[in-house]
Symmetry: C2
Subunit: 496 residues, 2 copies
């Protein structure tokens, strides 16, 4: 960006994939995060904050999408030539933190974390290179009850946003089920690591390509709409049939899923273990009233490495009309059990399970689905700046209003009254207070109620009626103004 011209003026702009956040979007993010973290804390999770960058090899190559294992991270060298990278998720730093402080940590350790992560990827519409994640993890217990607790936590988090079972769902599977399927088809096909990943990738694409698409990806291969050809897993007919048989169960009531899946994988080694965990999770959830929101679904894959047991993802449900209008939106969060990640740093295995909410994505999807109905505040009460000599009086009024817990400001520019009123409008001020020379001599101030003004601007017939409407504009004694304003604002609060 060497945009210097002859006057040495630099062009102000952001690198692609970076953005500023402010106004109602930032307020909404803070609102959502505050509601969800309140739930986390009620479950006994403690916040952790780790630095933005760490040693590159500490963070490792654990990007969820391992189709590009060597890219995706912003890295730079320290002055001692060690490589540092910006964190690409909040899990790798957690693994480092737990290992580094293993003996000091009270286990099971329940932490949550909120912060930016950075991905050095090609940005696109809605895809940024810095975005916010909100994670909850439990370290040090391999009990599936931990996974059940995380599912409850994820459900309660969505409920805290005012969403109900019609508005979101959580789909759960278990990586051991996928392992069981591999066991099954090994009877007919030779499955090396590469072929295994190709199979998982094919299943993961069910949402986008449908059953027939998955079938092609499991056999010869598939050409997509852009003409790109993806080579298939070259499986035998029998193997493909077994896989399609399994994934066609789809997302269904938990009982149903367990019964149908049991039939398919009962003779494998990993299958029954997975089923036992799913049964245990179902039992606890059912007894505690977590039913419609959480279904089992064998097509959930959640990345290719990393997870070892329960896996799940959370989706916002759009109504049918919206679905047609909009592109497929993936999950707003997900997670699962990853018992092997921390063993990068230790000889012994440390059990771990957790999930991550993509906050920026959640906000976008809530907006698309019209679920972003959180109250948005009006701006500050504005005291017009009419006369330099009266400035301390304006600040006195502002101070008194703030003491009532109401946001207030004195206009800080040097513009005339019209510009000041326009400023009030753009700041979404509910009320404007005017103290000019006339008012001051009489010991009064003039109050304009902008909210009332907007409310009844349609109903009013002529200018006189407007000016004379004493709900829109009125005079009041200086010593009564703060109480009156407090009264009006609490009426507005009641309505919103």
């Amino acid at each position: 960006m060497s945009g210097s011209n002859s006057n040495n003026i630099i062009k102000a702009s952001l690198p692609r994939g970076q953005r500023d956040v402010y106004g109602s979007e930032l307020r909404e993010i803070k609102n959502i995060v505050s509601r969800i973290t309140k739930v986390y804390e009620s479950y006994g999770f403690e916040e952790l904050s780790t630095p933005a960058f760490e040693f590159s090899d500490t963070l490792g190559k654990f990007l969820p999408d391992s189709e590009r294992p060597n890219a995706g991270v912003f890295s730079f060298q320290d002055d001692d030539e060690k490589w540092l990278s910006l964190r690409y998720d909040l899990t790798a730093p957690l693994a480092r933190f737990v290992s580094e402080n293993y003996d000091q940590i009270t286990k099971p350790y329940k932490r949550y974390q909120f912060g930016s992560v950075w991905r050095n990827e090609k940005p696109g519409p809605g895809r940024y290179r810095e975005f916010l994640q909100l994670d909850a993890d439990i370290i040090g217990s391999d009990n599936y009850i931990v996974d059940a607790e995380l599912l409850m936590l994820a459900t309660d988090s969505m409920r805290s946003l005012g969403l109900s079972e019609q508005n979101f769902n959580i789909k759960v599977s278990n990586r051991k089920l996928l392992d069981a399927i591999i066991e099954l088809i090994k009877i007919d096909d030779d499955i090396d690591e590469n072929r295994r990943l190709t199979i998982f990738r094919a299943i993961d694409k069910l949402d986008r390509v449908g059953i027939s698409g998955v079938e092609k990806l499991l056999s010869e291969g598939r050409k997509d709409e852009s003409g790109d050809y993806t080579k298939g897993a070259q499986l035998s007919k029998r193997s493909i049939e077994k896989i399609l048989n399994f994934i066609s169960i789809g997302s269904t009531a938990r009982n149903d899923f367990i019964n149908q899946t049991k039939e398919i994988i009962s003779k494998t080694e990993q299958g029954p273990i997975a089923i036992d965990e799913l049964i245990g999770i179902d039992k606890l959830l059912s007894e505690l009233g977590y039913n419609q929101e959480i279904s089992f679904d064998g097509t959930i894959v959640r990345g290719l490495e990393y997870y070892t047991g329960t896996i799940f993802e959370t989706n916002i449900v759009l109504d049918e009309k919206k679905k047609e209008e909009m592109p497929i939106i993936g999950s707003v969060g997900g997670g699962g059990r990853y018992d092997k990640l921390i063993s990068r740093f230790r000889k012994d295995q440390v059990a771990a399970s957790g999930f991550s909410i993509g906050v920026s994505r959640l906000v976008t999807v809530l907006k698309m689905a019209n679920f972003d109905k959180f109250e948005d505040n009006y701006g500050p009460v504005l005291i017009l700046n009419m006369d330099k000599e009266y400035q301390q009086s304006y600040y006195q009024i502002a101070t008194e209003i703030r003491e009532k817990g109401i946001s207030a400001e004195v206009y800080l520019g040097s513009s005339g009254m019209k510009a000041q009123m326009k400023y009030a409008d753009r700041r979404n001020s509910p009320l404007v207070i005017i103290e000019g020379t006339n008012e001051r001599e009489m010991g009064i101030v003039t109050v304009k109620n902008l909210i009332k003004g907007k409310e009844i601007s349609n109903m009013i017939e002529n200018r006189d009626q407007w000016i004379n409407n004493d709900e829109i504009q009125f005079e009041i004694n200086r010593d009564q103004v703060v109480n009156k304003i407090s009264e009006i604002v609490s009426e507005i609060d009641k309505k919103t």
Copy 2:
């Protein structure tokens, strides 16, 4: 960090100058930031969030300490070879944001921002390479009333932490006063840019080296305790006398300062302008009751470039005893008017004024001064995990307690009762709930009050008395336990 050994185990550690924040320190940071931002919002400031890195030449070389203008920033190259840098403060990104969105922004624009900044400097005790700043700025008005408002805002922010005029002070000066001093001594000495900076740097060191130290730095030079020699400004005796005359006014009542300074700089061009601004600020502050906290002080410099008018800094005051024990602590924040910064991006000048609080530093200093007396919460109520078969009952109890707004958790590990009690202790749980087979058969649970237990552990004489104390441990019907716990917790809340 290639700590791999034969087992490919990576050593978990952080790069120097990086750290994790958690527990009571993180809670304290959040508490402080939430109190201060509430004040900002009551003044009508709006939050802005900008990305962690930007184009390097957008951020510029505006590090406050220009003794090393070419270092201090973490930079890396994008795949199109453009240089990117992690932000080193929150002002440079604000200048970029304002310039990029100039026509859309409602002016005067009042924004606040909270976030990490990164400095590629040598870390030391209490000096990290990532730390938190909390900034408030007003863009688009060159009126000194803006500076007065920021001083009020800074004062109210400190007051919101429970600090009074005994615990903190704000020292104010004006860069034009320093310019006036330069005017004065130009009569006797030839002052080029280099010499000018050497003079400012000397004045800035008054705190550490005293008047005689400054005198040396203005004349030949000075050797410090480590033996390092700093070359002086080589000024004439007359010039040095004038400067010492000015800085010996020191930090004093605002009236006093104005009167004494007026005498010295009345015949300069810049001096009277500065004095007029100081008089205006004093008038407004006096009338609004901002007195003891804010003094004027001509020795404030605040970095060497960048500022153009009012400058100020906030200090936490330690009592005499603590001062002796501890090294000199600098300011916890400061700022001022910087009307030329935004013109890096624009032909016309954009007026700007603001200040920054060093949050990490503020937390450290508050702790040193014993002002970190914010309530620290107890942990979650712990329901012991006595019998796998009863798990849903434990979660049911936890859910009911959470519904009362109290944090609660079921023990998630597989350890015995002793370990679970130890966990409760380490989590600072106020209460523990036990439902074993006996209890379940009788329809009761056992409650242990750990807070009460700690309270009276000193007063108790023998084990029987302990076990039989029914405030420390009691049985209660299952259907009454949640109300009872709610009662006990609200009693604890009242006490703290």
